[in-house]
Symmetry: C3
Subunit: 290 residues, 3 copies
């Protein structure tokens, strides 16, 4: 079964339980993982056909409940009862684009946190137009790699051209611009991940394994995990950091057991199921500095 | 390749070979597994995007042949030559809903047994409307969890309200009503599975593992396996029981080898390929009682 | 993430680097594998919903970059910047068929090599019509099993009826006819694979394992690998042979480690990542004859 019927879900967890004093620490991330295991948030995914199976399995392994409700007429109906929503532009058919808009608008109206993943925007016109409209709706979190964040900032209008030869620095500038323009937190995936708020310090997460880039959906499923964490706290910076940290730390543990990208995927799901708050306190690497 | 060309399939197996005296026993289930391995039934699946890959792999592992023929113009063309058909409402796009109706109608006309899986009906309007229309076509088997069976019985019209606080009992009543109304056998998935005929004793199957609920498609793929077994006998009660028993017993064996939900999935496919009729006789647990 | 943004891709590798003297040898196949690892070709796939995840993972494991760009308005935009294109007819919705035509036409105009996989053509009318139109556009490589190649040759018009009782011989005749009619190389998958040029000797590849037929996408993903190899050389006969050889040899190695079809799939991905040019020289079996 791919959906958990909405009527049997527990009520949405209270938000704001976890963040103590606004500081994003390994301890706060660990506490949010404990909250996730208790709440089992219901995460609606309007995501691409390539990774929908892996994304659902990542959520299930971690302890969340996936609901891949992605057709017009249902996507908007479901978003208000979901704990969090993912909108991923990987294979944006007409039907999916209509469902994305429904889900994002309904999530916005209902106060359901939602994550936008602007897969491969920039060169490809259909998804770039769709991303421009979606980002204007103010996602709670925007997740992408450096190129996507740079392209989305440009596509959003009013952005400056990308003239830096340092892609990471350019992406941080673009992320900051997006964050300020749309009231979002922006997460940039890369060898070291960065989470960028509208103002204040950028958080860096230095965990993970290159094997995550050898499995399709390695980035996309992280967007769904961010939606799960964002349902547990109003602090989107903490949510995006905790999601990134738990996800990449589990990947690191799985890489130690894997013989290649094939055996990495099941080991990663096992690690997501097994990772504990204590593991997060011990293993999460949040280096200082901007 | 995802389809086995219809013209190269062996003729459909004769139905009615297995049920001896109408009693559903472990021995009768084991005999039906032997029949499946000999016949390699061709199972057409109109199923959701999340689980289509896993469902095809479950059928292949078990020894059946999947044919994911799910577009309008082909779905109805194929159902008469298929051994059995699955219609699963998990991601019901316009195109899929049209294909579902085609496949169900053609299966009905041709005498091809078919299974309806009303994923997440109740709250979500598009699939609930579709399920109401499909169930009226008289599926051979209806498969769902307790909530889905209760919702479908209500949606079918003429059902009594669900007023029981005991969900299992309510689901058994709903299943019986559906079975009588539509001439179907109704299979309810849960910690102990129940198979409910229009009249006569409910069969219970007490095998399985909670890991089946941690892999997306754990329930959906069982619907496809039911379609495979239903092609081997006119006794739908036996078919649904044998499918449930073989499937959950293989899952039990896989759970003993798995380190988590990630490694469970490949172990489960291995177990489906390896399970023998003798294993079924020895391991199937069909407790008495209604 | 499912796409690698086009603008960050390295330029397409020069074609023609590998084939030395027109002979298809294990050494030439090994050299092409080395080229693939260096070039990391970007392979656009318009493929079916069942196998899209597995196909992307096969490409990633091998060292290529998948781009599952399969919607109208983007498919044709992307094909000129892709290194190679796969068009697979497994689940041909309206949207996919339009995208297939776009991708094939744009690939043809731009000189991007492309592979056609006519899944299950013959009996099913929608895909058979689509295949007839697509094959007329002159794919670089056509890949299928014997039945599909025979059906496609008939469907192409002007073909002789299939009157042979020897399916392999009939498929070779059909393949030769297709190759001559459309300027393609035709690859027939089977216990021993055959690669058929318009004129000259048929190449046979005698590697592999029956487990490849117990995993959905075992054939379909090979089409994507052929598109990757075809981007590295103008010699389509060598490309199809090298793809088949590397793929089936990796499968052979994985089968030795697998306990069944479930554990075979991750072991196969590991083997695709690990296989070296030296392994190809040592293990590839290209028997003489025709």
């Amino acid at each position: 079964m791919t959906e958990t019927p909405a009527q049997t879900r527990p009520p949405a967890p209270e938000r704001g339980a976890s963040p103590q004093d606004g500081r994003v620490t390994a301890e706060a991330c660990a506490a949010l993982l404990a909250d996730l295991r208790n709440a089992s948030p219901l995460v609606q995914c309007v995501t691409n056909a390539v990774v929908t199976n892996f994304t659902a399995n990542v959520l299930l392994a971690l302890g969340a409940a996936p609901a891949m409700v992605d057709i017009p007429g249902e996507a908007g109906q479901f978003a208000p009862v979901a704990s969090g929503v993912l909108v991923n532009l990987g294979t944006p058919t007409d039907s999916q684009r209509a469902a994305m808009r429904e889900a994002a608008e309904a999530a916005g109206s209902a106060g359901t946190p939602w994550v936008l993943d602007p897969v491969a925007v920039g060169f490809l016109s259909v998804r770039t137009d769709a991303a421009r409209q979606l980002v204007a709706l103010g996602p709670t979190i925007i997740r992408g790699n450096a190129s996507e964040i740079i392209a989305l900032a440009g596509a959003g209008g009013g952005g400056r051209g990308v003239d830096s030869t340092d892609e990471t620095a350019a992406a941080l500038d673009a992320a900051r611009a997006l964050a300020q323009r749309h009231g979002s937190v922006v997460a940039i995936s890369g060898p070291v991940d960065a989470v960028v708020p509208a103002r204040g310090a950028v958080i860096r997460v230095d965990n993970g394994t290159p094997l995550l880039t050898r499995v399709t959906g390695g980035g996309c499923a992280l967007g769904a995990v961010m939606a799960a964490f964002a349902s547990l706290t109003p602090d989107a910076l903490l949510a995006a950091t905790a999601a990134t940290g738990v996800y990449t730390l589990a990947a690191e543990k799985a890489a130690a057991l894997a013989a290649g990208p094939g055996t990495f995927a099941p080991a990663f799901l096992d690690a997501l199921a097994a990772i504990t708050p204590a593991d997060v306190v011990q293993g999460l690497n949040l280096p200082d500095g901007d």
